[in-house]
Symmetry: D3
Subunit: 132 residues, 6 copies
Amino acid sequence: MFTVTVREHLMIAHSLQGEIFGPAQRLHGATYLVDATFQRAELDADNLVVDMALAATELRGIVAALSYRNLDEDPDLAGTNTTTEFLAKVIADRLAARILDGALGKNAQGLTGITVQLHESHIAWASYERTI
Amino acid sequence: MFTVTVREHLMIAHSLQGEIFGPAQRLHGATYLVDATFQRAELDADNLVVDMALAATELRGIVAALSYRNLDEDPDLAGTNTTTEFLAKVIADRLAARILDGALGKNAQGLTGITVQLHESHIAWASYERTI
Amino acid sequence: MFTVTVREHLMIAHSLQGEIFGPAQRLHGATYLVDATFQRAELDADNLVVDMALAATELRGIVAALSYRNLDEDPDLAGTNTTTEFLAKVIADRLAARILDGALGKNAQGLTGITVQLHESHIAWASYERTI
Amino acid sequence: MFTVTVREHLMIAHSLQGEIFGPAQRLHGATYLVDATFQRAELDADNLVVDMALAATELRGIVAALSYRNLDEDPDLAGTNTTTEFLAKVIADRLAARILDGALGKNAQGLTGITVQLHESHIAWASYERTI
Amino acid sequence: MFTVTVREHLMIAHSLQGEIFGPAQRLHGATYLVDATFQRAELDADNLVVDMALAATELRGIVAALSYRNLDEDPDLAGTNTTTEFLAKVIADRLAARILDGALGKNAQGLTGITVQLHESHIAWASYERTI
Amino acid sequence: MFTVTVREHLMIAHSLQGEIFGPAQRLHGATYLVDATFQRAELDADNLVVDMALAATELRGIVAALSYRNLDEDPDLAGTNTTTEFLAKVIADRLAARILDGALGKNAQGLTGITVQLHESHIAWASYERTI
């Protein structure tokens, strides 16, 4: 099994609903380091898991659509608790859709899985892993 | 598959018995960075893997019980080689017991696994993964 | 010259006013890693720059007063551009005031300077250094 | 499942053939951080996954044979695209051969897998995982 | 004193002339993490040390002119030992020239110094600091 | 001003005397990441601050003399509080002595200062800076 990972980051505001969130029920924000890992059983003819430049471009586009926003007002996310683990799934699912759309090239049809890990601080992070 | 990880640290003295350990047979010590990862197939109603504040509190308690001690004199560990990989298991098993006790809340009943990773330096680390 | 540094983190929402800030004019947020460095010419009788536990406690208190908030609505900060470099100064000045108040102990009277560094992502950080 | 990881680094020159590589088709180079992870179901009688000193020595030898070279002129690699993911496999396979040769000791016969991860920068890394 | 730092990276091939360099006399390469720090006594009217987006753009341009190349064949560098500390100076001097050209905006006229730090691995780095 | 830094690590046991140290009065231990920074106004004829291989070798020797020991029983340190900031000075002073002895080569006579930074965990570190 091979993997390739590219890192981006994301800065957003949001609030979380429910007593379990304590002070995070207030409007606050976070920088998330976003690590997108692409999995594949065998390398392609160029000895690649995925075209890293294309992968980085697509991840940057998905991150840019979320960045510098209040997620409480994002039409796709309003009314949802945008926890770190949930946001990892949002980004992984959007990346998977781009792969299926062909945006990462023919090469990317051989990918078998994606993991997205979000660091919210130096002491806490979350991830979501899915097949393609 | 979703995961959430929280980080703590631990400072202990110990010695390791057996020629294979070379200079580490002498009494010395270590700072371990302790990363506890909680796994779960689906998020709960709050969009959480686990209550991160409770998880951090329980990890802190387990780490505090080991911290600032000579493990060679710890009643539970004396006579055992407290290697990094073994200590990862000690902490994972204690966390699993707390989850089963309900200390991480009802929410935590949906957890399926724990991984504990201990960094002993910038060039060496170890981990133990188990089911719950 | 000796220094000691302790790290905390801070999660806030804010917006920045002025065209120069581009998309950061919108309400968004950040996690800041906060590194507070204490400087001193000679160690005290305990071979310390500062009581690290007290220093960490005071830093935690200053950070907690800012955390999980929208800084645009903070009475002390509203109407000000809370850039990373400006927030470094806010925290350094509040720490200096606590030192002068005696909150870090008699020991801390020998401190000669403070530097606060705030990481806003893995690719950008800022700092402010001042005397005491 | 237990793991132990040791880190080395590697500095090489190379070029990559194919339009997909853009400017990396030119002769350039990289520092790779090399993390070799050894997996095992149960600890041995010393409470070890592997003799960490031997593992580090063997990894250092494999890395030294590649270091400070132009991989385009390495007899074993010339004519091959030495992508990060491919080099992860080269190193993992050489480590596996050393384990089977007995170079990591009798202890290492219980190892079940190896993962090699190569960081090429703070924003990109790759890995290869195999059984033994 | 305030500072702001932005990070980029650079991948090059080169060789170093002189017995002191041992195996690094052979053609090899490196990834350098490039941290450019801008210093200033007082913040400007926007509460900034420097327009971070412009600073990042200029650093990216300077890094791109060096990236994915064999520095032994760069007309400006051929015949020179491009050690890590020397490259830190090359990048700092080019950034200073851009500041004096006005490329970082009027705002940047208040800058008093630049430090460039280059990490060549997880165990070695170098820096150069200069006034403007 | 130029600098070069090399990193080593150190694992020791010790205890600290005085109520101010709380639980660290008990015998415990630490891993210290040891960053030794060498300063110099101008590069030498090889474009170097210092022979990095020699610098690393000398640092390794100084660290090895302290490693895998109980510092409470070290003849040079017994009866002294071996705080992180104090150990930074011990290592810096030993490095300075080696430079003056000529162990880092003629090249090293141009060095003007040394800083030693010791990380004791991901949330605390200390340093000592001196002239040569």
